[in-house]
């Protein structure tokens, strides 16, 4: 196989997380966690699969009875005279000695003489057998139907659990993880990867069981009929083994690459379509076509490679199987001609051999299915086993509400994983309860990070953050997030109505409270101009909002929760000066006595705060009342002069 070059733009190389040895453990782990709870029903289903695996042999056996006991067709041997011998006798003989030749020779329609001898009551027996055949068929069919219902139920419950576990995990993972993983790729794991797993986890087991039963039963029957039949069938097995082993490695590799490419294609497409404005305005459509083309071609080549190997495997298997069956039939024919076997037995052996090779091919496909499944499981495990960087302490306390002493940061250090440069260095700061603190500084100096540390979206590398002297990492998430609310810099709007978006933090809010919050955020009037007011759909499928409108809705969302501590991350940057001024005034009125940490670029905001902190490159350089800082001649006083010039 020619291996092509896969490291193209927008497709970083795949990383392997699991060694080959760990694969069985991985499979067993999923079995234990997700399949084991359904063991009772699965046991019943497995028993059914084993039982049902015998039906084809029963069916074939009916055929043998028809040929040997009802139609009584046999080879003509020259030693026998035409039409001699009683049919009844033949039948009895055959029944007693299966596999032995009927010495009475040819019974049935003779081509040369047109003379035929049939056992008495053959028609009735044929009818009876037909009835039995149909009965077996119906029992098997009804059983399969019931069994399928059970299987579907297990599959659904299993999918639901797996999906929810993934979702829960994803929701718990830190912001750093979400920053590093594109939503498209996580989605493809939660939805399409889980979809692939569905019933595969135990279907592999069931189909193995059924194939195994078919093969062992078939082989036993063949050996019983004639040990040479059994030997022929058995000889083909090593050939199969050899073929699987050779293809397995390539298939595993290609499948992993395929899924990797697939997830990157999702990621690329969603990213580019998201930034369509930038693409169109720079007229770079053709360039983007090419990017997509590269990734798409990589996928095409891998799919072809995969099909080459898989189809090759299938072909070789079919060839081996048909040589086996052919040899068996021909050998049987010779035996019949020698008068050492009845035609019915031959037909039976042929039928059994046909059934036998089917499951062997199915087993070879099982190999492919399992390797696909394992890759999916690996991808799921990567998410499920991701370390939760920020977890709730087992002995966590409630948030100390109302906040009396304030917030304290002690030597807090922070850096992003990928970067060596610390974002925040040795921040020590006390924010008294009820105070407003304005955080300022050049962009990229760590202001947003500071707020995210305060709401525990990130955790400081070293140092501590205390609320009323209670360490932040010992406060329960739920109570923390009800009391400390962050309004992010880039407003995030959900698909849903405006009302849903505003009461996100407080779903039980009354309409009056909602309106009040919207008024305080200066968005009420805008909303009232819309045809369905608060019920207007916004978000991906709804009305498009301007940046300022989005910011005001997120502000209203925060105000509605009535937090003890409000963290505003430059959340009014897209508003015009006039609106911002009005909001500032309402905030002053509404948030009297509450603690607020506000990131802002505007001197007008800073002047409303009791204290201003200036960060420069992650270091706290200025800290004091705005009146004092303006005299110090630092960053703040320069800013003051620029903006009030």
């Amino acid at each position: 196989m020619r291996v092509h070059h896969r490291n193209i733009r927008f497709r970083p190389p795949r990383r392997d997380y699991e060694s080959v040895a760990g694969r069985l453990a991985l499979y067993l782990r999923f079995l234990r966690e997700y399949v084991w709870p359904h063991r009772r029903l699965l046991l019943v289903i497995s028993i059914w699969w084993v039982v049902n695996a015998w039906t084809p042999f029963v069916m074939a056996w009916y055929g043998r009875i028809v040929v040997d006991s009802i139609l009584v067709i046999n080879t003509r041997t020259d030693a026998e005279g035409a039409g001699s011998g009683g049919a009844d006798q033949t039948m009895i003989q055959q029944d007693r000695m299966p596999g032995k030749p009927a010495p009475t020779g040819r019974v049935g329609r003779d081509r040369e003489t047109g003379f035929s001898v049939r056992p008495a009551g053959a028609m009735q027996k044929l009818g009876l057998l037909f009835g039995l055949y149909l009965l077996t068929l119906i029992v098997s069919n009804v059983g399969s139907r019931l069994e399928a219902r059970g299987r579907i139920r297990i599959a659904q419950q299993l999918t639901a659990r797996l999906r929810e576990d993934l979702h829960r995990k994803v929701m718990r993972l830190s912001l750093a993880y979400h920053k590093a993983h594109a939503p498209g790729r996580l989605m493809s794991r939660i939805l399409s990867d889980v979809g692939e797993v569905q019933d595969q986890l135990y279907m592999t087991f069931l189909s193995f069981l059924s194939s195994f039963t078919l093969i062992t039963t078939g082989l036993s029957i063949l050996f019983y009929l004639d040990w040479r039949f059994g030997l022929i069938a058995l000889l083909t097995l090593p050939a199969y083994m050899f073929v699987y082993r050779r293809s397995r490695k390539v298939l595993d590799e290609v499948n992993a690459e395929l899924r990797h490419t697939n997830s990157w294609m999702y990621s690329l497409a969603s990213q580019k379509l998201d930034s369509i404005r930038a693409i169109q305005s720079y007229g770079r459509e053709r360039h983007e076509d090419l990017n997509f083309h590269r990734l798409s071609s990589c996928m095409l080549r891998d799919t072809m490679l995969q099909q080459h190997v898989a189809a090759g495997l299938g072909t070789v298997c079919t060839i081996i199987a048909s040589i086996g069956t052919g040899a068996l039939f021909l050998y049987g024919t010779v035996r019949v001609l020698d008068g050492e076997m009845t035609l019915g037995t031959l037909m039976y052996a042929n039928g059994v051999a046909g059934i036998l090779f089917g499951p062997v091919i199915a087993l070879s496909q099982l190999n492919v299915t399992i390797s696909k499944l394992l890759i999916v499981l690996q991808r799921l495990v990567q998410v499920l086993d991701e370390k939760e960087e920020i977890a709730e302490a087992p002995d966590a306390l409630d948030f100390p509400a109302p906040l009396r002493r304030g917030i304290t940061l002690l030597n807090a250090h922070f850096r992003h994983e990928q970067q060596n440069e610390p974002v925040l260095e040795d921040i020590t700061l006390h924010i008294p309860s009820g105070a407003w603190v304005c955080v300022m500084g050049p962009s990229g100096c760590g202001k947003s990070t500071l707020l995210q540390l305060l709401s525990r979206l990130y955790e400081p590398e070293t140092g501590e953050i205390l609320y009323d002297y209670v360490p932040l990492n010992r406060i329960r998430f739920n109570s923390l997030h009800q009391r400390v609310v962050l309004v992010p810099q880039e407003p995030q709007i959900f698909g849903g109505t405006i009302r849903d978006n505003i009461c996100y933090g407080n779903p039980e809010a009354t309409p009056r409270q909602i309106v009040e919050a919207a008024r305080a955020a200066e968005i009420h009037d805008t909303i009232m101009e819309l045809p369905v007011k608060y019920e207007t759909l916004i978000g991906e499928k709804g009305m498009t909002l301007s940046g300022g409108q989005r910011q005001r809705i997120t502000l209203a969302r925060a105000l509605l929760t009535q937090p003890d501590v409000l963290l505003l991350d430059d959340c009014m940057s897209a508003l015009d000066a006039e609106t911002e001024r009005r909001i500032q005034e309402t905030l002053v009125k509404n948030l009297k006595g509450r603690t607020a940490v506000i990131v802002s670029q505007r001197i007008s905001m800073a002047l409303r705060c009791q204290r201003v902190c200036v960060l420069d490159n992650g270091v706290l350089t200025e800290n004091g009342a705005p009146e004092e800082l303006v005299k110090q001649g630092g960053f703040f006083s320069r800013l003051y002069r620029q903006q009030t010039r």
Binding site: I73, R109, I138, A160, L175, S281, T333, L343, P442
Partner: protein, 584 residues
């Protein structure tokens, strides 16, 4: 019905017509080969075993082993061939859809979610491909098999053949009875799946809010209920599918048994030989299985029909804004940008821009100001022709923008948007996005002008640092400065900045402004800003309110207007007086 649905897809097969014919030929050959083994077995039973004649056994045995060998090789070729055509087809389809999507207008993206588009692009295309390639081949193979089997069965025994026809009729009834229900179940399932994935996408895009409100548990419940609904739908669908397929299977098996036993009865009545019965039963399977497959196919067509409909919809979405057939190439802007009584609305009852006229001399910087939602961003979109004006004309150098080639028109602009859009790529690639031929020196110069060079240089990998979704996290201010550098590298005739410096602190903004002044010198620029320090230095300030110009002129001129709105806002914003007053 099917063909009308597929009219968007069939032309995509054109390049592979030759291969497809070859594949079909191969399939026909395989089908014929598949029909031969029953004849061989029949011959062995009737010619060798019954008369006890060993003569033909060797030849027949050879044929019996060789036939499957040839079939297997053909089947390998067929699989690889189908995969090739199918994958090429889906590849072409995706590419052409992607290319179309990239060229659709902003109005389309305003109303269609990206998550949904990605699903169409990746999922639905695959489904359609599968139907059109793999299924077409199997249809052909089935048709050939059926034709062969029908002829053979009628030749063997017309009574039994008539019976087969009756059984096939029952198949048709089975399909009719089940298909409606399955279709409905499938539709419900698709709908619930769409809801689930839309909700999930929303949540993943807004993790920050979910986390900062501690709403994980609530989101988990929402997800749980959506997932439950969708799974219930899947269950209904799967049970329906299963009922249908077990019915079909039962019919096929029972049909075969009936034929076999009826055949045996005829042997008893001396109407045919046992070899005939064997061949007949095998052939009946060749006839009944296609019937089964056909009925399954109907179901698949249903599934794929939904996907195909959605794709056709996207394919027939014409770009609203496209080149006029007689579009002319636009040289670099030398003269005036003119808004001539421009009006614009998204919906007729809600005008966004009303009778807006403005002439901008070359090199002028225009600041657009006004309350949130007054139409500033819309005006900029009109300039770039993301939308077409609904009244009046917009002229560049006296030429209506609609007569210019879109590519040339947009090349005139460098834009910096409110929400910076960066890609997963290195910083250098992001900066040279608009002009990939830019040299490293040019990139660095632009970064210096955008006040971001020092930061980039301080990174361990410098300009080769990977940013974007899976790369290094940047602050909004840093992202914005990178987009500014990108606009500078583009070297545009007109610069558009929409709130470009909102996330920058005043100090960096001040620094950028110095650099900007240099860059803006011989360029026309449109700037939307809320900060007076940014606005003040503009040559022309346009105060918009509800899509109309209220005041326009330079800072000094506007300040002189008695009771002017600009003057009032400036006074209120600046007139905070001393620190003491406002701090209290």
């Amino acid at each position: 019905m099917i063909t009308s649905r597929l009219k968007h897809f069939l032309p995509l097969f054109a390049p592979y017509t030759g291969r497809l014919w070859a594949l079909l030929g191969l399939t026909a050959l395989m089908s014929v080969l598949a029909m031969l083994p029953p004849l061989v077995i029949r011959a062995i039973v009737d010619r060798v075993i019954t008369p006890g004649d060993r003569g033909p056994l060797f030849m027949l045995g050879l044929v019996m082993i060789l036939l499957p060998l040839i079939s297997a090789v053909c089947s390998y070729l067929q699989t690889v061939g189908i995969t090739y055509v199918g994958q090429k087809f889906v590849f072409d389809m995706r590419q052409s859809l992607y290319q179309r999507l990239l060229r659709l207008s902003m109005r389309f993206f305003g109303k269609t979610g990206v998550g949904m588009l990605v699903n169409r692009l990746m999922g639905d295309t695959g489904a359609v491909q599968n139907l059109l390639t793999a299924q077409t081949i199997s249809i052909v193979s089935d048709l050939v098999c059926s034709a062969f089997a029908i002829t053979a069965t009628f030749l063997l025994n017309w009574r039994l053949a008539a019976m087969i026809v009756a059984i096939i009729a029952i198949f048709v009834v089975n399909v009719r009875l089940n298909i409606g229900f399955i279709r409905q179940a499938n539709r419900n399932y698709q709908r619930s799946m769409d809801r689930l994935s839309a909700g999930l996408q929303d949540r993943l895009m807004t993790t920050l809010v979910v986390k900062s409100y501690g709403a994980e548990a609530r989101e988990q419940r929402t997800f749980h209920s959506q997932s439950e609904t969708s799974l219930r739908q899947v269950r209904t669908l799967q049970v329906a599918n299963n009922t249908f397929s077990t019915n079909t299977q039962l019919l096929a098996e029972a049909g075969r048994a009936t034929l076999y036993f009826a055949g045996c009865a005829m042997v008893l009545m001396n109407l045919m030989t046992y070899g005939d019965v064997l061949a007949f039963t095998t052939y009946s399977m060749q006839l009944l299985w296609p019937a089964v497959r056909f009925s399954l196919l109907v179901k698949q067509v249903q599934d794929v029909g939904v996907a195909a409909d959605r794709l056709s919809e996207l394919f027939s979405e014409a770009p609203e804004i496209k080149d006029n057939p007689a579009a002319i190439t636009a040289p670099r802007l030398k003269d005036v940008v003119e808004f001539d009584h421009v009006s614009f609305h998204y919906a007729p009852e809600k005008p966004v821009i009303r009778d807006f006229s403005l002439k901008v001399a070359p090199g002028q910087t225009v600041a657009l100001i006004g309350p949130t939602g007054c139409g500033k961003s819309t005006l900029l979109s009109l300039l770039l022709r993301f939308y077409d004006v609904t009244g009046g004309t917009l002229k560049l150098d006296g030429m209506d923008v609609r007569t210019l080639r879109l590519r040339d028109l947009r090349r005139q602009f460098g834009i910096v948007l409110q929400e910076p859009q960066l890609f997963t790529a290195t910083i250098a690639d992001n900066i040279r996005y608009a002009r990939p031929s830019a040299t490293q020196a040019e990139i660095e110069a632009a970064s210096r002008a955008a006040e971001i060079h020092e930061f980039i240089a301080s990174l361990p990998k410098g300009y080769d640092t990977l940013i974007g979704v899976e790369g290094m996290p940047l602050s909004t201010g840093q992202k914005q400065r990178i987009t500014i550098a990108r606009a500078i590298v583009a070297d545009p005739a007109i610069l558009i900045m929409d709130e470009a410096t909102s996330a920058l602190d005043s100090e960096s903004e001040q620094a950028i402004q110095v650099a900007m002044e240099r860059i803006l010198k011989d360029r026309t620029a449109f700037i939307v800003a809320h900060r007076l320090s940014t606005i003040r230095s503009a040559d022309l300030i346009v105060f918009l309110h509800q899509g109309q110009v209220v005041e326009q002129g330079s800072h000094d001129e506007l300040m002189k207007i008695p009771n002017g709105r600009y003057a009032a806002i400036t006074a209120r914003f600046m007139g905070r007086g001393s620190i003491k007053e406002s701090a209290s």
